[in-house]
Symmetry: C3
Subunit: 154 residues, 3 copies
């Protein structure tokens, strides 16, 4: 079963690929590694989950936002690589949570992203190194942004 | 035309290389990748553009600070590599904006950095993956800090 | 003298390896690079140094927290690699300080981490590229978190 079939069996439909909001590209492959740009919780209609964790958004909503970031990331990875089957494994995730100074459950939020990758690629390939930290603000008020590095084959 | 000639044709003069402000080096090459330390908007006289976006600094001033970060980065890259001609391409940029909780135009600020690299290296080599996010504070009150990864040749 | 002997000669005892607090692993090796997950200032008894720099914690206490992060990082690296002797050099450090908007001495805090690595591996192998920045919040209120990339041999 390839990754697209796996997505279908999980009932997952990827959102369309967004245009970058600045002078950059979605991802760059160099030396067997794919460096992906930061990605937000954009819905298929172009709107996004916005707001701060600790001020109106709770962990459950943040988890949902992080999962939606993951769906966008999968869509972007497929766009850069041509096929998700070229992903050998997740190497590193930097999860950034738009948060108030008192919000401290950033890992539980970013698990929404990580759990999706483990569902899709399995625990061996889908689980990487990670940090999950709090940002004072993110572009366009998005609730969560994630950038990542993956190992890919030619 | 090599990169130094390109800089001259653009009327760009790089600032002197600053001393690191802690126990680290300007950059490290490993496996064909150059990992560059975070770099700030330091002027030739040693002063820097300081302050927070959203509290006294607007997007235009932030863009200017990010461009100045780019000039310092180019100077640091040349110092590490010996020559800017060893740069094959920009791989990844992490743009960090010193910002208030309500400032959300971080990508427009970091474009000041990215636009410079595209001017100097062209769109194929100069445009990489990127995140542009908000930090609650940066060293010595600098307005913008950027770290980056480049692909380099021996 | 191998690295474990070096640690012993310095009187350094590494803390036990903690369980990750989310769906991730301690580190991933890919293409000669080791990408390590973010790590906090966890004491041997499982408690951690918590709080914000600029609000109750001063630079000396932050430096101490960053050094403790380094001890945990060494323990995690040994766990991932099997032996610290596989470390060829530090490539890149991202030091994240839990800070108030007005705290600006983040590099002096992260030197607590960097100084430890230079003590253990020496200035050639132990000093890498670095950024040291301020985060609005970190997991479970920890005062400092660091993630890093190292060059490793097979």
């Amino acid at each position: 079963m390839n990754v697209d079939q796996r997505l279908e069996s999980l009932g997952i439909v990827l959102p369309p690929v967004p245009r970058p909001v600045g002078n950059y590209v979605g991802g760059v492959v160099s030396g067997g590694l794919l460096f992906m740009s930061g990605c937000g919780p954009r819905r298929a209609d172009g709107s996004a989950i916005t707001g701060k964790l600790g001020d109106g958004l709770d962990v459950a909503r943040g988890y949902e936002a992080a999962r939606l970031v993951g769906l966008n990331m999968l869509s972007n990875i497929r766009d850069v690589l041509g096929s998700l089957d070229r992903v050998e494994r997740v190497v590193k995730v930097l999860g950034m949570v738009n948060a108030t100074p008192g919000f401290t459950a950033t890992p539980a939020v970013i698990d929404g992203f990580s759990d999706l990758f483990v569902e899709v690629f399995g625990p061996e390939r889908g689980r990487g190194a990670r940090s999950a930290v709090g940002m004072v603000t993110l572009p366009n008020e998005i609730a969560v942004e994630v950038e990542m590095i993956l190992q890919v084959c030619a």
